[in-house]
């Protein structure tokens, strides 16, 4: 097993809601994700899976426990220097995933411009290349988000995440707002891109079917704890934890 891309070791996150009333979103979460591997993270809303995603992305510092990315402990909130652009995300709501005032090419080029400086225009060629990889012809480059369908917008979001050749991507409910047929396209796309780019992926979803299609390993979260972490095939055929069985029943 090569060096894990991302490693969470006994991570806890506690929120203060009003005086004296605290909520534990993550209660001792530990897992590893290797390059080219996808960990599916499933659970009901309020199970803490979104907070886990935020901690993995470095958006939120854990109350305790360590988060190691490519071996180095992740200190500050905003990735700096070499590791900037190594971590990317594809988030849920296609309607707001892109800046309505920016053309597609600019949105996709932005992460590269943040890493390698320079104006957005200079990175358009790279943007066009990556757009082609997600199945969008060059003619989409100058379009505005309101001219695209939900599926096309999610493709642009994926292209934006890939342009800096990240070693780790978080998919937070990336397909749950899409129609079944469009969802199929996106799932196939993610699968093919991972084979080619070999990034590590954390696929967060409440849709067990979609997770089964992509994940190599599956973690089930409930009220801030991982109740089961297993290889995907074994998990879907013989789930051990009763809560996992309950979830699979509805599939």
């Amino acid at each position: 097993m090569s060096e894990p891309v991302l490693e969470l070791d006994d991570v806890r996150v506690v929120f203060k809601r009003g005086r004296g009333h605290t909520v534990t979103a993550m209660d001792g979460i530990s897992f590893r994700i290797a390059a080219g591997e996808t960990l599916g993270l499933v659970g009901e809303s309020g199970s803490g899976k979104t907070t886990t995603g935020a901690v993995a992305l470095g958006l939120r510092r854990p109350t305790s426990g360590t988060v190691r990315f490519l071996g180095a402990a992740q200190g500050r909130r905003r990735p700096r220097g070499a590791r900037a652009g190594a971590v990317q995300a594809v988030l849920q709501n296609p309607h707001w995933s892109l800046n309505p005032r920016l053309a597609v090419a600019d949105s996709v080029a932005e992460p590269l411009a943040a890493v390698e400086a320079g104006r957005l225009r200079t990175h358009h060629p790279a943007a066009l290349r990556i757009l082609d990889q997600v199945g969008l012809p060059a003619s989409f480059a100058q379009r505005l988000p309101h001219e695209l369908s939900g599926g096309q917008r999610q493709r642009v979001a994926i292209a934006r995440a890939l342009i800096t050749r990240p070693s780790f991507i978080v998919f937070d409910e990336a397909v749950s707002a899409l129609d079944v047929s469009v969802q199929a396209h996106i799932l196939n796309l993610i699968h093919d891109l991972q084979t080619e780019h070999r990034f590590a992926a954390l696929f967060i979803s409440h849709d067990l079917a979609a997770v089964r299609y992509l994940a190599h390993r599956v973690a089930v979260m409930r009220t801030g704890q991982i109740v089961e972490l297993a290889d995907a095939h074994r998990f879907y055929t013989a789930p051990r934890h009763p809560y996992s069985r309950q979830l699979l029943e509805t599939l």
């Binding site: 939900g150 199929a184 396209h185 979609a210």
Partner: protein
């Protein structure tokens, strides 16, 4: 469909168009559907297929900018499209009921749950606490005093179901009632909805994209594409042996049904956006078993293997499924 008694709902060849400032969008392009008393019909289709418009049509709840140039809609014999406003309101009050997609949004944020229920059920005497217990809400007295933003989605949907069923409607229309809910809660709400409907003999129209759910709960399934009902028959038969190519493609694309390791079969192209009478079958450009007549001639409904299908070459089998390249660990 119980033969003999006249069907509760008749939607016959209805065309509905939305008029926006810049262009006209045709949501329904000659949709037809009938449902008898007590039937449970699942209407499946992707966004842009017109299923939501069909749901709203039955209660004539389409926004002001829409027109229905063709077709009839009969609920319990009354032609919904021509009813004067007061009789339409009475129809909605006495015969119809709706379960909303966003349960919390459908409740008035400034009123307590109890007050809203009393207002809605002011002419049907009902013990509110008993009503909530019927939909298995623990501690109903407490819930009645809460505001909508203080309760979970699941609980709000149960209140909505209770509110709807308390009026003993003849027809219940539920447009994606469980889209926003988690899997467990989703099952409970569905179980409640269908058992109460069955007890009351209410016909249920469930608009959904959850094929599995429809399979479990609905006796009949209608698949919609491009503003028309392309396949309409008993659920088990349709899902096991789909006659219309789109139904087949839809089933193949569903990850829940894909066997481990097989690649999802995707449908090429994008869903159509109609603005006037289309030539031929709108699915033709994306259909694998399309012949030359498909793009030219508009398919008429025909009965094949006990169901009605809108296709010139029904029964085509989806192409073989290529093995999936495994990514090296």
């Amino acid at each position: 469909m119980t033969v003999g008694t006249p069907p509760l709902l008749v939607i016959d060849d209805v065309v509905t168009e939305y008029r926006t400032a810049t262009r006209v969008v045709r949501a329904l392009d000659g949709a037809s559907l009938t449902a008898g008393r007590g039937e449970t019909v699942g209407i499946v289709g992707e966004s842009g297929s017109g299923k939501s418009t069909l749901g709203l049509l039955t209660g004539r709840l389409l926004p002001s900018g829409t027109r229905c140039p063709r077709g009839r809609v009969l609920v319990d014999g009354e032609s919904v499209l021509d009813l004067p406003p007061d009789r339409l309101a009475r129809l909605r009050r006495e015969r119809l009921a709706f379960v909303p997609q966003d349960p919390i949004g459908a409740l008035d944020p400034t009123l307590r749950i109890g007050r809203q229920l009393r207002l809605a059920l002011r002419d049907t005497p009902a013990d509110l606490a008993a009503l909530l217990e019927q939909v298995r809400i623990r501690d109903p007295e407490h819930v009645l005093r809460l505001y909508p933003h203080q309760i979970s989605g699941g609980m709000a949907q149960r209140v909505a179901v209770a509110m709807a069923m308390a009026r003993k409607p003849a027809l219940l229309i539920a447009d994606e009632p469980t889209a926003a809910l988690d899997s467990q809660v989703r099952e409970e709400v569905l179980r409640l909805l269908f058992t109460l409907a069955a007890e009351n003999g209410t016909t249920v129209l469930w608009l959904s994209h959850d094929l599995g759910g429809v399979a479990r709960w609905c006796a009949r399934i209608a698949v919609m594409y491009g503003g028309r009902v392309v396949e309409d028959g008993t659920t088990a038969e349709v899902l096991s042996a789909p006659q219309h190519p789109y139904t087949g493609a839809l089933l193949a694309a569903d990850p829940a049904r894909a066997k481990g390791g097989t690649r999802l079969l995707t449908i090429g192209g994008t869903p159509p956006v109609l603005s006037d009478d289309p030539q031929g079958c709108v699915f033709a450009p994306r259909c694998d078993s399309a012949g030359e007549d498909c793009p030219a001639v508009r398919p008429a409904p025909r009965t094949v293997a006990g169901r009605t299908v809108l296709c010139h070459h029904p029964g085509g089998t989806p192409e073989t499924v290529p093995a999936r390249k495994e990514s090296a660990r």
